[in-house]
């Protein structure tokens, strides 16, 4: 069952004195995210990731299209009790302590009074803030605020969690902890949609990713699917430096590593290279297709497409 279905969601901003000029922040797109999935929403800064999340949260309204979350329209108030949201660069009421803030959000989320204190303490513990829970948030570092943000997003045990750049502002240990936390949420059966422009974060934990650029969804799939394309290139690895000159003579760049050599070449030249290796009595170790990395795929998708700024109709 799809936990999140985006159905032609689109956002255009009007600007200028007469509001006759338009900027398309998000082109209409369809996307379905299954229950229990970790979905990485990737794109460079300004791609439209935050716009999508704000639309889903009802912070801004779509120009057209809509979305369904857990089978209900995204604007249905009943949906809100079952979702959690961490905004980008979260900022909270700094006159409250972390425990007071979570208590306030627990009240608004409708958690029963008898469970609130226990739940707040458990969340502070879970994000590593058990010690600082009673400090005012104005004394918190950026990383600590990010942890508070994650705590408030999962406080009411939501089924679907939206995280906008959850690793932002965290040190390497913090990033690792958040990745582990997202994994553990998945193990609890939660559906997680998180946006990031840091590919390594997505590569480690996502079941599927979507690449967004200039407000347009340019590709969706599992990382293995997206990186499966070889681009028609293979890597040959052999032992014996004697074959290097013959292969280099074919115009292929070779990279010696100890007494072995590696080279990457177009598939059509493979037979010629293998012949050269055999003739030189070198020992072939492996021939393997070159998989593109997520970064390669990402960069391929960032080619220019439709103009972002459109004039008035």
């Amino acid at each position: 069952m799809a936990a999140i279905e985006i159905l032609g969601l689109q956002k255009t901003y009007s600007y200028g004195f007469w509001r006759k000029r338009h900027r398309v922040a998000l082109h209409p797109f369809q996307l379905s995210i299954e229950a229990g999935e970790i979905f990485g929403y990737l794109g460079p800064n300004g791609a439209g990731k935050t716009t999508t999340l704000r639309l889903l949260m009802g912070i801004i309204f779509p120009t057209s299209g809509g979305a369904r979350i857990l089978g209900r329209d995204m604007q249905d108030p009943r949906v809100k009790a079952q979702i959690g949201f961490l905004p980008e660069h979260p900022y909270f009421y700094d006159y409250l302590s972390a425990a007071e803030l979570l208590e306030y959000y627990a009240q608004l989320s409708g958690l029963p009074a008898r469970d609130r204190k226990r739940r707040v303490e458990a969340m502070l513990q879970r994000v590593g803030l058990a010690e600082g829970g009673h400090l005012q948030l104005r004394k918190f570092s950026k990383g600590m605020l990010q942890r508070v943000g994650i705590a408030q997003a999962i406080l009411h045990d939501p089924k679907v969690i939206f995280l906008d750049e959850p690793m932002s502002g965290l040190d390497p240990i913090g990033r690792r902890e958040v990745r582990d936390l997202i994994q553990s949420l998945k193990e609890e059966g939660k559906t997680i949609l998180f946006s990031t422009h840091i590919l390594a974060d997505a590569e480690d934990i996502c079941d599927r990713v979507g690449v967004l650029h200039m407000g347009e969804l340019r590709g969706v799939g599992s990382i293995s699917e997206l990186t499966a394309g070889t681009g028609g290139r293979v890597e040959v690895h052999w032992q014996g430096l004697s074959a290097m000159a013959a292969v280099a003579a074919l115009g292929i760049e070779c990279r010696p590593v100890g007494d072995t050599v590696r080279c990457v070449l177009p598939e059509k030249q493979l037979d010629a290279v293998l012949d050269s290796i055999r003739r030189s009595h070198a020992h072939l170790i492996s021939v393997s297709p070159v998989r593109i990395t997520l970064e390669d795929y990402f960069m391929q998708q960032l080619g220019p497409r439709p103009a972002v700024v459109e004039s008035a109709p």
């Binding site: 704000r54 949260m57 009802g58 912070i59 801004i60 309204f61 108030p77 009943r78 809100k80 009790a81 979702i83 959690g84 949201f85 961490l86 905004p87 660069h89 979260p90 900022y91 909270f92 009421y93 006159y95 409250l96 306030y104 959000y105 009240q107 608004l108 989320s109 409708g110 943000g149 408030q152 997003a153 009411h156 939206f162």
Partner: protein, 258 residues
């Protein structure tokens, strides 16, 4: 619904307290203490009149400043600092947020005014060494001041739901000044001709009438306040606050919060 509004209201009140808004009470206490002592020495026979005038005017000005300068940030600060994002991703409706914010600031003003009222009555007791029957009307005057605060808060909230904080403050202040002279505006409308007459009449009816709620001078002179005026002012304030909040909600419900 009511519980969510009360949570938002109590958090708004807590914010005001922790941001030291109630510190204005210290200045008020100093003002009342100094005036009680000084007035007794320089104005024999009219100490009570001066104390009431001074005390109620101070309550009005301090409260007005709080209503406008906290009111303009009630919505805009939440949008600007993005604290609203985590609020609206919960089962909180936008209108509940607006009403909760209004209730929270109203509670702040009510507590502030109640504490100041204690100061005014302490000053009156210091002067006369007893309370008189006319003191009840001082209480009525304070009640009218609270009604004005509620209207100013609701209208400031309305302005801040679509404009910048500075513009909201200017508009709210201008509205208060014009509303204070509402009777003069009506008198002008009665004398004016043509388009001017209709414009003045429209302004007189659309802008809040604070003139009928300002009874500081008659109360200071020991005059009674009619029960009918209390009932009409209460009804007027409720309707005005309801209309301003409804307009704020309509605007806010359709606004992109970015």
């Amino acid at each position: 619904m009511i519980t969510r509004i009360s949570y938002i209201a109590s958090n708004t009140f807590r914010e005001a307290v922790r941001d030291r808004v109630l510190y204005n009470l210290i200045f008020f206490a100093l003002l009342m203490a100094a005036s009680s002592i000084l007035v007794g020495q320089i104005s024999i026979g009219i100490e009570r009149q001066i104390s009431i005038n001074l005390g109620l005017t101070a309550i009005s000005l301090f409260g007005l400043a709080i209503a406008i300068f906290i009111g303009i940030g009630l919505v805009s600060k939440e949008i600007e600092k993005r604290t609203l994002y985590t609020l609206l991703s919960r089962p909180v409706r936008r209108w509940e947020f607006i009403v909760g914010k209004f209730a929270g600031l109203s509670l702040t003003l009510l507590v502030n005014t109640a504490l100041m009222a204690v100061g005014v009555f302490a000053s009156l007791f210091y002067i006369a060494h007893r309370f008189t029957g006319a003191d009840v009307y001082v209480l009525v005057a304070i009640y009218f001041i609270v009604l004005q605060f509620l209207i100013v808060t609701a209208v400031t909230l309305l302005f801040s739901s679509f404009s910048t904080p500075i513009l909201s403050a200017v508009l709210a202040l201008a509205m208060f000044v014009i509303g204070t002279f509402a009777e003069d505006l009506r008198a002008f409308a009665a004398m004016a001709q043509g388009v001017e007459r209709y414009l003045a009449l429209a302004a007189a009816y659309v802008l809040p009438n604070f003139a009928s709620m300002n009874v500081i001078t008659p109360v200071a002179h020991g005059e009674a306040i009619a029960g009918r005026l209390v009932a009409l002012n209460t009804l007027y304030a409720l309707l005005y606050v309801g209309a301003a909040l409804a307009a704020a909600v309509v605007i806010f419900e359709h606004r992109d919060l970015k």
